[in-house]
Amino acid sequence: MINYFLEKKHITMLELIEEIGERYIKPFALKWDEEEIYDPTPIKALSQADLFGIIIPEEYGGLGWGSFEMCLAVEKLSYYCAGVSTTYAASFLGSYPILLFGNKKQKERYLPDIASGKKLCAFALTEPQAGSDAFAIKTTARKDGDFYILNGMKQWITNGGIADIYIVIALTDPAKGARGASAFIVEKGDPGFSVGKKEKKLGLRASVTTELFFNDCKIPADRLISREGMGFIVALKTLDYARCGAGAQALGIAQSALEISLKHATTRIQFGQPVYNFQAVGHTFAEMAVKLEASRALVYSTARYIDSGAKDISSASSMAKYFATETAMWICERAIQMMGGFGYMRDYPVQKFFRDAKCLQIYEGTNEIQKNVIARELLKYYK
C-alpha cells in the first residue's frame, strides 16, 4: 500500500505496540468486550513501554514527539482494541490542557507522572444538558480565598474513576456565559469529588465511562489553568489537538475490519469458489481499501499540520475526525456484510469493531458538530 516514509523511531514504536497488542490485548479483547471489563494490564504495559510520554516534552520525562506519533500509536493500538485505545487516548485528551495552557509549576507537578503512565488523565466537559451545546454547562467554581469550590456534575467521562487527574470546565462567572468558564485540575481524592455510576455502553466496552460529581469540592486556587474566563478556549483548543486521535482510532478499527473480512472472503467457498472472486465482493473490498487509505492520508496530513505549529487547525482536525470515523463506520458495516452470518456472530470480532466505530461518530464532538466547524471555517477562506 502507500508508503508514508516513516522514520526508524516510528517503526520501532509500532513494532513495540504490535508486541504489546499481540501479548497483552489480542487474546483478551473479546472477553473484555463481552464482559464489559476494564483490565489495567495493557495500560500498565503501555506505561512501562514509555508510550504515555509521546506528546510530553523531554524535560518532563516524555519523548517530546507530537500529534503524528500520537496518531500512529493510537491507530496501532486501536487495531487490537479500540476500548484500550480509548483509555489511552483519553489520557492524552486530559493532558493537553496542562501541556498547552498550564503554567511551569503545573507542568512540573503533573506532566512527569502523566509521561510515565503513573497517572491517567480525564477531560470533563460534557454535562446532561450540555453535549454538543457545550456552552450550556452548569457546573460552577466559586473563588473562596485561596481555594475554588466546585459544584455540579459531569457526564460520560472517559477514564472516570480510573484517572488520577481530571480537567474540569466550570463556570466562574455564570453571568458571562461562555466567557465565564474556566478550566481546573481536580485530583482523585479531592474533598467533595466523587465518581458516579459506570455507564453500560454499546461499544468501547473495555474502557470506563462514568459520571463525576462535585459537591462543594474544594481545590487550591493554583489548580486554575490559564486564567478565569479561558475555560472554553482551553477546551476547544484541546479538542482541536486531540480530535485527529479519534480519526486515528478509526483507522485502526477499519484496518482490522478490512483484514479480517478479507481473509474470510478469500477462504470462504460458495458456489465452488472463494466469495472474493465474485466481482460484487471484490469491488466492495476495493472501495473499503480506497476509503481507508484516503482517511489515513487525511489523518496523517492533519497530524503533521498540527505538528508544524500551525494555528488554524480547527478545520483540518474536524475534517480528519469526520471523514475517518464515517469511513470506519462504513467499512465495519461492509465487513460484516462481506462475512455474512459469521460477521454477525459475537464469536468473531468484526461486530465489535462495528459497535466500537459507532462511538467515534459521537464522541470528541459529534460528526454533525465537525461539519458545523468545517462549514464555519470555510467562510474564512472563501467568503
Binding site: 520501532t12 514504536m13 513495540l16 500498565k44 508510550l51
Partner: protein, 263 residues
C-alpha cells in the same frame, strides 16, 4: 540487595533450528536467536526486585556473538548492564562445562546478592545448569521458584513441587531458578529501544575469566550426544469420496477395523 545477576540464554528459533551433523549439537551461529522463555521470567523477577530495592541488575549470557541481540532485548526491558561471555572454546559445552563458565563469570562480577536463571532452556531442557552453577560457586540454590519476596536480610521464595507449593527462606547470596508461572512480564521501554545502537555489552572470554581450557567446550564436556534425529510428523488422515450413504457404511467399517466400535 546490591547486585542481581540474571543468566540468560539465546536459543534458536524452534521453527528454524538446525543441528550440526558431526557434533550432534545445535547450530547457534548464523541462526536467529531468541530469548529463552523462562529467562524472560527471570529478568522480570530481577527487575521487580530492582524496582522495590534499587538493586543493580546485570544480565549475562554465554553464547555466540549474535547472542548480543538477546542481551539488547533485556537491556530494553530495564536491566542496567549486559555482559556477553563469548569464546570459540565454549562451542559444544554441556551443562557441566556451561556451569563452569557461568560460575567463573559470576565470581568475576562479585560481589553479588542473588543470581536468577530460568529453570530450563528451550533447547536443552535439562534444568541442570542452575544447581550446578550454585554448587561450583559454593552457594545455595532453589529450583522451580514461581515467586520471590524479600524479608529482612533473607529471601522468601515460593517453590512449586509435585505435592503443592513450598515457602522457603534462603540466605544470600544464592541461585534461584524460576518457572514461567509469573503473572506478567513487562514489555521493552521505547526510550531504551531508541538507544540500543549505542549499547554494547561488556565482553568476557576464557582468558579474561582465567578458565581451565580442559573444562571447556566439547572436549571438556562429559556428556556425549550419541545421535540426533528429526521427528517426522506424518498426517495419517485419508479422504474418501462418494455418496453419503456409502461413506457412512465405509466409515463404520473403518471404526470397527480399528476396534473403536464393536459389532
Amino acid at each position: 540487595m546490591e547486585k542481581i545477576i540474571v543468566c540468560i540464554k539465546a536459543v534458536p528459533d524452534p521453527e528454524k533450528v538446525k543441528v550440526d551433523p558431526e557434533t550432534h549439537t545445535l547450530k547457534r551461529e548464523g541462526t536467529e536467536l531468541l530469548l529463552n522463555p523462562p529467562d524472560e521470567s527471570a529478568v522480570e523477577m530481577a527487575l521487580r526486585l530492582k524496582d522495590a530495592f534499587s538493586a543493580e541488575v546485570v544480565a549475562i549470557s554465554m553464547g555466540p556473538p549474535n547472542a548480543e541481540n538477546v542481551l539488547k532485548k533485556v537491556y530494553a526491558m530495564g536491566v542496567d548492564k549486559t555482559v556477553l561471555i563469548c569464546d570459540r572454546a565454549f562451542a559444544g559445552s554441556d551443562t557441566l562445562a556451561t556451569s563452569y563458565v557461568l560460575a567463573g563469570a559470576i565470581k568475576k562480577l562479585s560481589p553479588f546478592s542473588l543470581v536468577i536463571m530460568g529453570m530450563q532452556s528451550l533447547d536443552g531442557a535439562t534444568s541442570q545448569v542452575p544447581p550446578e552453577t550454585a554448587s561450583l560457586i559454593g552457594i545455595p540454590s532453589v529450583t522451580n521458584v514461581k515467586e520471590i519476596k524479600k524479608e529482612g536480610e533473607n529471601l522468601v521464595v515460593i517453590r512449586e513441587s509435585d505435592y503443592g507449593e513450598e515457602e522457603l527462606e534462603i540466605s544470600l547470596p544464592a541461585v534461584i531458578a524460576v518457572t514461567t508461572q509469573i503473572d506478567y512480564i513487562r514489555p521493552c521501554s521505547l526510550k531504551r529501544l531508541l538507544k540500543l545502537e549505542d549499547i554494547k555489552s561488556e565482553q568476557l572470554d576464557a582468558e579474561k575469566l582465567s578458565l581451565d581450557r580442559n573444562k571447556l567446550g566439547l572436549s571438556g564436556s562429559p556428556t556425549r550426544v550419541a545421535d540426533v534425529y528429526e521427528k517426522k510428523l506424518e498426517l495419517k488422515g485419508k479422504i474418501y469420496q462418494g455418496e453419503p450413504e456409502d461413506l457412512v457404511d465405509r466409515f463404520i467399517e473403518i471404526l470397527k477395523e480399528k476396534g473403536i466400535i464393536k459389532e
